[in-house]
């Protein structure tokens, strides 16, 4: 593990050391920085906090927000909450999958796009809703998907 990563992890752990129940805030902060939580990073956190790696891994695997794999450059999240489902989210998901030739949960081979299914993001009034990175798109009809992907491909 390269030492700059280790230093960053130590800095983050130190920042939360006195916080009660610090493990989850630490994992959030590391994932925010690196996009995912590798096994190495998990082991470092465990030894820093003096808990077992199994405990850290148990927490990482329990929560769907934590991921052990690097994501693509653009992260597409198709909301699969009830409001979005009733308004046709499954068709929107299918359009993304067909367009990018990957399934939900996968990343394109050029590492540019990852498709994910999200839980309700609270924009139900404009269902179906899709997030791409930090942008939110409401009332997204499947036929707008190609143009949207093109927009991010060019970025």
């Amino acid at each position: 593990m390269c030492s700059t990563v280790a230093d960053k992890v130590y800095t983050i752990v130190d920042r939360f050391r006195d916080t009660p129940g610090s493990l989850i805030p630490i994992l959030h902060a590391i994932q925010e920085e690196y996009g995912y939580l590798s096994r190495d990073v998990q082991a470092m956190v465990a030894s820093e906090l003096g808990i077992s790696p199994a405990k850290v891994h148990g927490v990482v695997s329990f929560y769907s927000f934590f991921t052990e794999q690097a994501k693509g450059e653009h992260e597409i999240g198709v909301c699969m909450g009830t409001a979005c489902y009733v308004r046709g989210a499954a068709d929107v998901l299918e359009a993304f999958q067909n367009q990018l030739h990957i399934r939900a949960g996968e990343t394109t081979s050029d590492q540019r796009f990852t498709i994910g299914m999200t839980r309700c993001i609270g924009a139900c009034g404009l269902a179906p809703v899709v997030t791409i990175n930090d942008d939110v798109y409401g009332r997204l009809a499947p036929d707008r998907v190609p143009e949207l992907i093109e927009k991010y491909r060019r970025q």
């Binding site: 009660p20 989850i24 329990f62 929560y63 409001a83 308004r87 309700c120 009034g125 404009l126 409401g138």
Partner: protein
């Protein structure tokens, strides 16, 4: 002094409709016209009319502009703000009657509301503590610290009849009393902002739109039970809520509403935010406590209840965001005032998040006991596209559905339970005639199966088995006896699961079976989906006599499954057809048939 105030909604719905760009454009144009000093632009939390966004309200008149594009902003500035003429083109026009409404307060959507929990949401700038204070914010905390004993506070909350808005409807005063009775020592106050019901967004809107109301209420709760520390547990999907709340905490500390010696008394109280990490079960109170402690969010057996042994084993109260939002007004106006609103057993108001197949999607707060019909038709504006209302799901994945027969029943805790549904958090998903109830049941079971924490077998294995039966039904492979097996499994899971997630997971199946049994039977016996939704059970054909040979369907078909020559009838190659239904939408002469 400003001569006009313009509120721009920055709720989640409006942001996804690009309200931020509209606000930036407004600020820019006000600058260009050199009237930035005269007109104040305020970004508010969710106003509630999500479907009409981006929206803008111009005060002092209270004119409501909707569905704004960037190009509309200059006209509002030049016509309304400079010449004082309302821009009629941008006002709300009712879909059926074409009646135009100018003022926000005259809109049917707002006229029927009674806003207590949402009193400030969409009205104030949530990033300004001064605006909260200007609307009597922190007065209730002052009243409490200035002369009420903890016991009197609890009595007032009990007398108001306030019940928990997060699901179960447990009397809030009683819960506080349990924790207050626990021996003196470290105690905690927790706010449940996990908002797990997919389709509900009131907690998000309150935290984003009026964060100080939650801080004030939690401080009051801390005083009442003798706690000096609180936690707000917010779901990870709500980053803006976390940001807003943290800012509000900082301001509250600066103003002396949090920290030590609050308002010059010897009461200490402080708050921290904890962010969830994507697990529905963490909305369950004991799982939530495990998660705050940094563990896997698995539920704990109850008893002991959190009021006795909660966070780190200490007495803890957990309430929902909306529950807390009701507390300051109750203290301020008195239990008597509050208990006059609503029904006998369900006092006060309830916020509903209306979504799905309904014209006015959004957030509304109405007295308890308001009927489903008033919500869907009078406030919600009915079903889009002149479709028929079929069902409304309340209580999310733990709840059930209400049908046409239930339109006139009052929405309160006990009536909903009697009907096999539940209030839940107030998510109200409206479904029209094209929705397949078997598939909706499959959707909810897929959700609960996925979210089952796996700790107890009935929930983990039982939901998996129910789901596989439902998947069979929607893919046209249902068998005789499937319905009965679903019913048996449902009872077994309800009776033997460890926590509320499992105990309530079968509800959507039982409730759709009760109300729409014939749809299940049609899937099994006739291999037919009456709503025309389940793809395995429908097919598309082109009626040659009606087809004019324009070729529009073939051009739009994403899987090139339509063949033919211009000016001759086209046809669909069944093997290639993915049944997406695009052709049906695009055909100008309705020559496509779905069966």
């Amino acid at each position: 002094m400003y001569r006009a105030h313009v509120l721009v909604c920055a709720g989640a719905g409006c942001v996804s409709s690009r309200s931020r760009d509209v606000r930036d454009e407004l600020v820019k144009i006000l600058g260009e016209r050199d009237i930035s000093e005269e007109v104040r632009v305020i970004e508010t939390g969710c106003i509630g009319t999500c479907d009409l966004g981006p929206v803008m309200i111009v005060y002092p008149e209270g004119v409501f502009y909707q569905k704004l594009g960037l190009g509309d902003v200059a006209q509002i500035v030049d016509e309304h703000l400079i010449r004082g003429r309302v821009v009629e083109r941008l006002l709300y026009r009712a879909p059926l009657t074409e009646i135009v409404t100018e003022k926000m307060r005259d809109l049917e959507f707002f006229r029927r509301q009674y806003r207590i929990a949402l009193r400030n949401t969409g009205v104030i700038d949530p990033e300004s503590i001064e605006e909260y204070i200007a609307r009597d914010g922190y007065m209730a905390l002052g009243t409490v610290l200035d002369g009420m004993t903890p016991d009197q506070v609890i009595q007032e909350i009990t007398a108001s009849g306030l019940r928990g808005r997060g699901g179960g409807g447990f009397p809030t005063g009683r819960k506080w009393d349990f924790a207050a009775q626990a021996p003196v020592g470290q105690k905690y106050v927790v706010c449940n902002a996990d908002e797990g019901d997919p389709g509900a967004f009131m907690d998000r809107s309150i935290i984003e739109g009026d964060p100080h109301s939650i801080i004030e209420a939690m401080a009051i709760a801390g005083y009442a039970i003798g706690a000096d520390q609180g936690y707000v547990y917010v779901r990870a999907e709500y980053p803006l809520a976390v940001e807003r709340f943290q800012l509000a905490l900082q301001q509250a500390r600066e103003y002396g509403f949090l920290g030590s010696a609050i308002l010059g008394t010897d009461f200490h109280f402080d708050l921290d935010v904890r962010v969830g990490a994507g697990a529905f079960v963490c909305g369950e109170e004991t799982a939530l406590l495990n998660s705050i402690e940094g563990n896997r969010g698995e539920p704990r057996p109850r008893p002991p209840f959190p009021a006795v042994a909660g966070l780190w084993g200490r007495p803890t109260i957990i309430n929902n965001v909306e529950t807390y939002a009701n507390v300051p007004p109750i203290i301020q106006h008195g239990a008597k005032w509050f208990s006059k609103i609503g029904t006998e057993a369900s006092r006060g108001t309830k916020v509903f998040a209306m979504a799905g197949n309904i014209n006015n999607t959004g957030l509304v707060e109405v007295p308890m006991g308001t009927t489903l019909r008033e919500l869907i038709y009078d406030i919600g504006g009915g079903i889009p596209g002149n479709k028929r209302f079929k069902a409304a799901q309340t209580g999310g994945p733990s709840g059930g559905c209400l049908t046409e027969d239930h339109l006139d029943t009052p929405m309160d805790y006990d009536t909903l339970l009697e009907l096999g549904s539940m209030m839940g958090s107030g998510g109200l998903i409206v479904m029209d005639e094209d929705t397949c109830m078997v598939d909706i049941a499959r959707f909810f079971l897929d959700f609960t199966r996925d979210e089952s924490c796996g700790k107890c077998n009935p929930c983990r294995i039982g939901t998996t088995r129910m789901l596989s039966i439902l998947e069979r039904l929607v893919s046209g492979e249902g068998q005789q006896g499937d319905i009965e097996e679903l019913e048996d499994l449902a009872v077994f899971i309800q009776e033997t699961s460890l926590c509320g997630l499992g105990q309530s997971a079968p509800n959507p199946v039982l409730s759709t079976l009760k109300n729409f049994r014939s749809e299940y039977e049609a899937h099994i016996r006739e291999r037919r989906c009456p709503a025309g939704h389940c793809r395995a059970l429908i097919s598309y054909t082109i009626v040659a006599e009606t087809c004019i040979g324009c070729g529009i369907c073939a051009r739009h078909c994403p899987s090139n499954a339509i063949v033919g020559e211009r000016r001759n009838p086209y046809s669909i190659v069944t093997e290639l057809c993915t049944k997406c239904g695009v052709c049906l939408q695009e055909c100008p002469v309705q020559a496509i048939q779905k069966r």
